[in-house]
Structure formats: structure tokens, C-alpha cells
């Protein structure tokens, strides 16, 4: 099992290339089988993962460009493990629910290549390798949105590409600058994150580099005010594109914060906490209000995604174990829940070719199974206890409560607004009288859709009731990272903040 992680990364790519030979009629089955094998492989990764270890596991290391310190260095810890499983899980289910007919072969192959880039991002330990996968993930997504999307698809896909491309180029400058600094201090060229984490960087440099990395990550998350590409991308993307975009692609940004920004720049992270917290709160409240004003179901969910990502960012910058663990768990739950919501909207769009709430009504009596599943997922999205959404949201906010109760209270109002717009959506579409005669003839969920949606519902309930198997490994890795940050802290403010955090943890 030495090369399990590499196998997981490159298996979809290889399968995708071979997929060109598979006949068009069988390509969907091919895609589902590959994605299932991939999911099983990622489960094997989980079973072979030592839960009590906090270090990187499944590490592989081969030199690529040794004169410049670029190596193929991969490995996972508790933080990335579950994001990889999330990627394989959601890709598998979104392929099962796939209902596109046009050019399906290209679509399946593109999704498999996209899956490779996602897993690559989460397992790279060399920053250049990370950057490779990070940038390359834009290409399949551009194609998915641009070729199978709605009327404005070309505008949306190019906006998506250029926005994130520009952001990541700024990050590239930061990466190269940091490598240069590392070389000046130690005389070694390296891009390995495990080496970089040990480097103590002067505070003024940390601040500049933090900004460079922040621009790259914030556009991806997307944080206010860089969020404007997302509603277009979601609005125009086909269902499978929206699912993968919301479930996994956005998590790359918040993962970047946890993996790079915090451990590399602890002092800058503390320094920028107020700014980021305010941006995150604007993001939570403002986009929740925008979501309430939408008429299109998909737009409601797109804006709610941004709002929830705000809570994740807030939890991350709590800089304590509860907050960070909670925000990572929330990444997972948001992945499953928003993916499921986009799939549910896709289901109704396939039948009616509209996503406007005003077109529906009374769906509960026509499509009972659909209504039940939508209900459960919606509750999870709102953050009802005993669903997956609650655990992450609660822990993230609880973590930030230690930092600033007032700001947390503001963030809390976003949650209430979230309940309002989601319940409003549900009332408009599922209850009351049907607003259009066509609604009465709608068929309930078919076998494929049930096969895709039921696993998500089960996961939402299982991890809502018993999140421990996932929380423990995450928590171990997060604590290790916080210890590292504490050792590296230079300014008094950072030390105070991280010691305060430590006390809180002990008190608990």
C-alpha cells in the first residue's frame, strides 16, 4: 500500500484517458464504476490511516526539479483525509445522478480529470505540486460550465477562470518570494510545506505574504468582495458542475487557509483576524439577505453557499482547536449538504426546465419522496441539531465565541436569516397550492436519483448524530498545527491569543 495515495490521485486521470475508447452508450456506467472504485480506494485510505497519529501519512517523495527544490511530495493528515473522501464521494454520487445527454462522453471524462485535480490539491505537500493541481482544476471546470451550462455560460465560465487565475498568480508570487526567503535563510531551495512550516518569518514579511496567499484563497472561497463570480458560475453551470463546485472546489480555498496561511504566518493570521472576521460576517449576513431576495432556487442555494463559507472562514480564524476542527467539519457537511441541494434542484429542473420558485407550489403532495429528502437536507443546511450541518456550524461559532462574543452574535443572526430563506423556499415550492398545472403530472424521484440522494441523507444523519470518527483525526492534526503555531509565535499579541486558546482547551 506504499503508493496508495498516488494511485488515488492518478487513477481517475488514467481512467479518463482510457475513457476516450469507451463507447458513448456505456460511458456513464464506465464513469460510475471508476468513481466507485475511486471512492472505495479513498475508504481504504481511511482504514489504513492511523487515527492517533497527527503527522503526515502515506508520504511519497520523488525529486522532480531538484536544482530548484521542486519535488513530488504528497501525504495526508486528518485535515486532508476527509476532504479527499468528500471529493470521491460527491463525484461518485453526482455521476450516478447525471442526466445530461449531450456530449456525455466528454463530460464524464472531464469530471474524472477534475476529480484527479481535487484529490491532488488536498494531498500535495509540495507547494508547486499544490499549485499545479490548483490551477489545472480551473480547466475542466471551465469546460463543464462553458459547454453544458445555461445561456450566459460562456460569460460565466470565463469570469470564473479569469478571476481565480488572477488570484492564484498573485499567490504564485508569494510562493516564489517565500521560497527565495527560505533559500536566503537556510541556503536550501525547497518548496516542501513541511520544511516551510518550521521557518520563522519576520512579522512584516508575514503580513505581505499573508496578503498574497489570501488573495488567491479568498477568491476561491469566495470571500466578500471577491464573490461575484460564484452566482454566475452556479447559475449557469449544469447540475454536476454546481455539485462539484459547491461541494469540493470552494473548499480548496478554506483548505488553503488551514494548510498554508495559519501555520506559515501565525502572527499575520492573528494580526488580520479582525479584518477577516468582519469580511466573513459581512459575507454571512449580506449574502443571506441576498439569498432571501432571489426568485431562482439555484441562486438561493448559491448565495447560501457563500454565507456558509463565511462561517467556515470565521471558524478557521478563531485560531483554536474547536473553531478550526469545527470549520473543517463544516467544510465536509457543507460539501454534502450543498451538493445534495444542488442535486435536488437539478432533479426538478430536469422535469420542468425552470428553477423559479414562483412556478412551483404543492410539490409535497405530488412528489412525496422528493419532499422528504429535500426537507431533511434543508434542515441540515439550516443547522438543525442531529444533522451534520449543526455540528460544524456550532463548533465554528463556539470557537469564535472565545475570541469575540459580539462578532459571533452578528454571525449568529446570519444563521437565523439562513433558516428564514430556506424555510421560505421550502414553503413556496412544496406547500400551498400548485401555481402551474404541469406540476401535478410530475414524477417522483427515479431509481438513479434515489441511489444518489439516499447515501447523502444517511451521511447527513449519521455524522449529525455521531461525528466522533471524523472529528478525532481532524482534531489531532489541528492540535499539532496549533502547537506549531504557538512555538513560532513572535509578537506578544499572538502569544496571548494562542495561550488564551490553550487555556480554553484545557478548561474544556
Amino acid at each position: 500500500m506504499d503508493h496508495l495515495l498516488s494511485l488515488i490521485i492518478f487513477f481517475p486521470l488514467f481512467a479518463g484517458v482510457l475513457g476516450f475508447i469507451v463507447n458513448k452508450d456505456s460511458i456513464k456506467a464506465y464513469g460510475i464504476s471508476i468513481a466507485t472504485v475511486e471512492f472505495l480506494l479513498s475508504l481504504a485510505l481511511w482504514f489504513n490511516y492511523n487515527i492517533h497519529g497527527a503527522n503526515f501519512q502515506f508520504v511519497e517523495y520523488y525529486p522532480l526539479i531538484s536544482s530548484y527544490g521542486i519535488n513530488y511530495h504528497i501525504g495526508i493528515d486528518g485535515i486532508s483525509l476527509f476532504l479527499i473522501i468528500l471529493s470521491t464521494f460527491m463525484t461518485m454520487l453526482s455521476l450516478i445522478a447525471l442526466s445530461v445527454k449531450k456530449n456525455i462522453k466528454n463530460l464524464v471524462i472531464t469530471v474524472l480529470i477534475l476529480e484527479m485535480t481535487l484529490i491532488g490539491v488536498f494531498s500535495a505537500l509540495d507547494v508547486i505540486v499544490f499549485y499545479l493541481f490548483w490551477e489545472f482544476s480551473l480547466v475542466p471546470m471551465l469546460y463543464i460550465i462553458g459547454a453544458w451550462g445555461g445561456n450566459l455560460r460562456i460569460y460565466a465560465s470565463i469570469k470564473f477562470f479569469l478571476y481565480t487565475f488572477a488570484g492564484s498568480l498573485i499567490m504564485l508570487i508569494g510562493i516564489l518570494y517565500l521560497a527565495d526567503y527560505f533559500h536566503q535563510v537556510t541556503g536550501i531551495w525547497t518548496f516542501s510545506i513541511t520544511d516551510w512550516q518550521l521557518l520563522v518569518i519576520p512579522v512584516h514579511l508575514q503580513i505581505l505574504l499573508f496578503i498574497a496567499f489570501f488573495i488567491g484563497f479568498a477568491i476561491k472561497v469566495p470571500m466578500f468582495p471577491f464573490h461575484t463570480w460564484l452566482p454566475y458560475a452556479h447559475g449557469q453551470a449544469p447540475t454536476i458542475g454546481s455539485i462539484i463546485l459547491a461541494a469540493v472546489l470552494l473548499k480548496m480555498g478554506t483548505y488553503g487557509f488551514v494548510r498554508f496561511s495559519l501555520p506559515l504566518f501565525p502572527d499575520a493570521s492573528v494580526y488580520f483576524t479582525p479584518v477577516i472576521a468582519i469580511l466573513a460576517i459581512i459575507m454571512i449576513i449580506y449574502t443571506a439577505m441576498v439569498a432571501f431576495a432571489q426568485k431562482d432556487m439555484k441562486q438561493v442555494i448559491a448565495y447560501s453557499s457563500i454565507s456558509h463559507m463565511g462561517v467556515i472562514v470565521l471558524g478557521t480564524f478563531a485560531l483554536n482547536a474547536i473553531g478550526i476542527t469545527g470549520s473543517i467539519f463544516f467544510m465536509l457537511s457543507h460539501g454534502v449538504v450543498s451538493g445534495a441541494l444542488f442535486m435536488l434542484v437539478g432533479v426538478i429542473y430536469d422535469r420542468r426546465h425552470t428553477k423559479l420558485m414562483s412556478e412551483f407550489g404543492g410539490l409535497a403532495s405530488v412528489m412525496p419522496k422528493y419532499a422528504v429528502i429535500f426537507g431533511i437536507i434543508m434542515m441540515a443546511s439550516v443547522g438543525l441539531p442531529l444533522t451534520m450541518g449543526f455540528v460544524g456550524e456550532f463548533l465554528s461559532l463556539a470557537g469564535f465565541f472565545k475570541v469575540s462574543p459580539v462578532l459571533t452574535a452578528f454571525a449568529g443572526t446570519g444563521i437565523i436569516l439562513g433558516a428564514i430563506y430556506m424555510l421560505n423556499l421550502y414553503r413556496e415550492s412544496f406547500f400551498g397550492k400548485s401555481k402551474n398545472k404541469e406540476n401535478e403530472k410530475l414524477k417522483d424521484l427515479n431509481k438513479n436519483e434515489l441511489m444518489a440522494l439516499i447515501p447523502m441523507v444517511l451521511v447527513v444523519l449519521w455524522l449529525g448524530i455521531y461525528p466522533k470518527p471524523v472529528l478525532t483525526p481532524i482534531d489531532n492534526s489541528v492540535k499539532k498545527m496549533l502547537n506549531l503555531m504557538r512555538l513560532k509565535a513572535q509578537t506578544q499579541a499572538t502569544k496571548d491569543r494562542l495561550i488564551l486558546v490553550k487555556k480554553v482547551k484545557e478548561a474544556k
Partner: protein
């Protein structure tokens, strides 16, 4: 009474002239073959040219340490060897593009191949000398052949392009001579190493004439390397030349020009003449930015690639500005990667060449021509998209590594601001490369399109495209060996 000068043959070091002699005799040989027997197939001449270039490359690779020859006119240092390797390999890859399935006017004349070899010799003279006069002769030999090659495409636009290029080139040649003249007046030599001695010792008297010489050289090299504001010939020449020739123009003359620029500006930047530094700085930024903006609005893929190559030249010129060893390594790495990518992109255009203009009378390669290519020719469209992504600098494709290494060199030298300007420019540039991808992948095909995409394809062309695609995709594994080779040559010549 003239004094007798005796020169021993060994001190001439004729072997330093061998590479150029080989290609020149190769070219003459091709002309002789044509005299003896007419109407031989172009495939014969293509193969002969490749073989001549292979022999030449073999001689060039036998480099052992810097040496001079022919009264010190020829300088065979590491950079000269590296430049010649790039020139020869690029020529070898471009000449098979003559083996098209359609007949074209220029390839039915063996003179084309002779001119091609003479041109290669000219570029070799340019890179293998630090004598301004010899550089000038090399430049003119190469340029005159190139003008003729462009005109031989035998379209109205080609004549226009050739004349335009010729006129501009003549002006640039004038500037070059003026610069050499002034430098001779100041320093008493046209040899760059002599000039460097005088300049670094500060013995040039008034600085005004020196600045004049630098300004004339800026203009002369600016024309050759297509810097803004000396770029106006570029799009028209690309439009008028065949796609194969246009690809050649974007690679080989520029690497020769870059090496001359490297040798020339190194003197003044090392001597701390800040005027030269800042003018070059400004020219790089203006070139990158304006060419990118102009590329955004082009309607023809070929014109877009013309502006894109201007922008790449500006991008890589920053290595000359930075003037560190790592930057010089980056310059060559970038250009090698650019060679393979641009070779592929222009070969793809060449494959889709169709004599009748189906879409617009104005352009051979409008964007509409490629609409919906992925549904008809998925593999060809994917390969073209890979070349575009590589040009845009999307990892893991070839040019990303060149860009990464170049940006790294710039940041290591402390010029972070320049690096930021450069990445912002690449973000703008991504848009026009994406535009072609959007047409190929996201739009519906035109009814006539089916016949056009690969109209001109032949096995030879497909092989070249496949080869450059493989290098572009798997570039990551080639970087380390390339860097080793480049740095050994660059260090050997002390840059």
C-alpha cells in the same frame, strides 16, 4: 609599400567557422542538385536540409570551452553554442512543415530550402560573435533570406508583408550601424569585449554619445525583437507569411536577437548606466501590456498569436534586464519551452490552412473557423487547447515552467514589483488564449467546418504536432535535464 602580413593557418582557428560553413555548403549543394536535375520532389530537399542541420548540430555540440577564431571575430562561448542549438533544433522541427498534403508555391522551388539554410547560417553568425560588424552581417544575411521566404508564399498579402518587413528591417539595420559607429568613435572598437572594458572603466568621456549609441541599439534590436513601439510590422508579416514561416519568425530570429541583446545590454547594465536600465524596464512593461491589450481585440488567431509573441518577447526580455545568472538560465529555459509550444500552435494553424477563405475574405484563420472543433475533431481540438493553455502559463504545461523559473529569478533578484506586473499581464493574456478555447470547445460547429480543420494535414505535420504536444504535456520531466544543460553552457561563458 604594403607590409606583408603573415598569419598562420592554425591561429585562424577555421574550425570555429565550421558550423556556418556546413549549412552554407549545404544550401549551395541544394542549388547544385537543382541545376543537375529539375523537378525533384520537395521531400528530398526537406530531408537534405534536415541532414545538413543534423551535421551542423553535431559540430556545434562538440563544444569544449570558449574559443575565438578568425581574427577574434568568431566567439564560440557557451551562450553561442546554446543559441545555435536552439536555432538548429527549431529549424529542424520547422522545415518538415513543408511536407503538406496541399501544394504550395514556395516549396516547389528548391531555392526555398537553400535560402532557409543561408538564413540559418546568418543567425548562427549573429549568436556566435561579439563583433558588431559580424553580427550585422549575420543579421542582414538572415533577414534578406527571410524577406524572400515570406514573399515566396505568393499571395498579395505576402508581398505586402515582405516589403513591409524589408523596409522596417532596413531602417533597423541603419540604426544598428549608427550604434556601432558611435561606439567605435567612443571606444575605438566594434568588439563588445573591448567596448565593455572601456565602458566599465568609465573612460568614455561624455555620456551623451554613449546614450545615443544605446538608444540606436534599442531601436535596432527593438525592431528585430518586436518591442513596442517598433512592433508595427509584426501582425501584418505574420498574416502575410505562411503559418509555418510565421511560427519560425516568432522563435528563431528572436532567440538570435535576444542573445545579441544579452551580450550588448550586459555591458551597460553591469556598468551601472541607470538610464539604459530604466529605458529597458519601461520598454518591457510597455511591450507586455500594450501587446496584451491589442491581442484582446484581434479577430484572427494568427494576428492574436503575433501579438502574443510580442508579449512573450517582452516577458523574456526581463531576464536581460535582471542580468543574473539565474535569469539568463531562465531566459533560455523559457525560450526552449516557448519553441515547442509555439511550434505546435503554428503547426496546428498550418494544418488547418485552406486556400479559399470560407469565412471572411480578410483573414485565413478567423476565430469562427475553429468553432465547435471539439465535436468534429476532439483530439486535434484538445491538442490545440493544450498549446493555448501552455502559452497562457497554466500548469503543468511547458511554458508554465519557463514562467515559474523566470519569475523566480526576478523575485530572487529583489524585483518583486516587476514580477507582480508580469503576472498581472499573464492574467490579461489568459483571456485571449481562452477565447480560442471558447470557440473550439464551447460553441457550435459551423457547417463548413468539417472539411477545414485538418485540410492540410499529412503524416509529417501530424508527427511534428504530436511531438511538440508530448513535450508540452510532459514538460515537467524535461525541466531538470534542460536546466542542467543550460546552466553548464551559461556558466561556461561567464554570464
Amino acid at each position: 609599400m604594403l607590409q606583408t602580413i603573415t598569419i598562420s593557418l592554425s591561429s585562424l582557428n577555421i574550425s570555429s567557422l565550421m558550423p556556418m560553413i556546413i549549412v552554407i555548403f549545404g544550401g549551395l549543394g541544394i542549388l547544385c542538385i537543382d541545376l543537375i536535375k529539375k523537378d525533384l520532389s520537395k521531400s528530398l530537399y526537406v530531408m537534405l536540409s534536415i541532414l545538413v542541420l543534423v551535421i551542423d548540430l553535431g559540430v556545434v555540440l562538440g563544444f569544449n570551452g570558449p574559443s575565438r577564431g578568425m581574427f577574434g571575430m568568431i566567439l564560440d562561448d557557451g551562450i553561442a553554442v546554446l543559441g545555435q542549438i536552439i536555432i538548429l533544433v527549431a529549424s529542424m522541427l520547422f522545415i518538415p512543415l513543408a511536407l503538406t498534403s496541399k501544394r504550395f508555391h514556395e516549396y516547389s522551388h528548391p531555392e526555398f530550402f537553400a535560402l532557409f539554410l543561408f538564413m540559418t547560417a546568418g543567425f548562427q553568425f549573429m549568436v556566435a560573435s561579439d563583433n558588431l560588424m559580424l553580427i550585422f552581417i549575420g543579421l542582414e544575411t538572415a533577414s534578406l533570406s527571410l524577406y524572400t521566404i515570406i514573399a515566396m508564399h505568393n499571395l498579395e498579402k505576402s508581398f505586402e508583408a515582405a516589403i513591409k518587413y524589408f523596409t522596417m528591417g532596413a531602417l533597423a539595420a541603419g540604426f544598428f550601424v549608427f550604434s556601432a559607429l558611435i561606439l567605435y568613435a567612443i571606444t575605438g572598437s566594434v568588439e563588445l569585449h573591448q567596448i565593455a572594458k572601456v565602458v566599465s572603466a568609465g573612460e568614455y568621456g561624455s555620456i551623451i554619445p554613449l546614450l545615443g549609441a544605446i538608444a540606436f541599439m534599442f531601436a535596432a534590436l527593438g525592431f528585430k525583437l518586436s518591442f513596442i513601439p517598433f512592433h508595427t510590422w509584426v501582425p501584418d508579416v505574420y498574416e502575410g507569411a505562411s503559418a509555418a514561416t510565421a511560427g519560425y519568425i516568432s522563435i528563431v530570429p528572436k532567440i538570435a536577437g535576444l542573445i545579441v541583446a544579452l551580450r550588448f545590454f550586459d555591458i551597460f547594465i553591469s556598468a551601472g548606466i541607470s538610464w539604459a536600465y530604466y529605458v529597458l524596464y519601461a520598454m518591457i512593461i510597455i511591450t507586455m501590456t500594450f501587446s496584451n491589450i491589442m491581442a484582446l481585440v484581434q479577430k484572427s488567431v494568427k494576428r492574436m498569436l503575433a501579438y502574443s509573441s510580442i508579449s512573450h518577447a517582452g516577458f523574456v526580455m526581463s531576464a536581460v534586464l535582471i542580468n543574473t545568472t539565474q535569469a539568463h538560465n531562465a531566459l533560455f529555459l523559457y525560450w526552449i519551452m516557448f519553441t515547442f509550444t509555439n511550434l505546435g500552435a503554428f503547426a496546428m494553424l498550418w494544418i488547418s490552412r485552406y486556400k479559399k477563405s470560407e469565412f471572411t475574405a480578410k483573414y485565413d484563420h478567423p476565430y469562427q473557423k475553429f468553432a465547435g472543433m471539439v465535436t468534429v475533431k476532439p483530439v486535434a481540438a484538445t491538442i490545440m487547447a493544450i498549446f493555448m493553455l501552455s502559452l497562457a502559463g497554466v500548469p503543468p504545461f511547458a511554458l508554465f515552467w519557463g514562467k515559474l523559473y523566470l519569475l523566480g529569478a526576478i523575485i530572487n533578484s529583489g524585483n518583486t514589483f516587476l514580477a507582480i506586473l508580469m503576472v498581472l499581464n499573464s492574467a490579461v493574456a489568459a483571456y485571449y488564449y481562452l477565447k480560442l478555447i471558447v470557440y473550439m470547445f464551447l460553441k457550435e460547429p459551423d457547417s463548413k467546418a468539417n472539411i477545414i480543420y485538418v485540410k492540410n494535414a499529412s503524416t509529417a505535420l501530424k508527427t511534428i504536432v504530436g511531438f511538440s504536444a508530448i513535450v508540452t504535456i510532459f514538460a515537467i520531466f524535461t525541466i531538470e535535464p534542460f536546466l542542467e544543460m543550460i546552466s553548464s553552457y551559461v556558466v561556461a561563458s561567464g554570464f
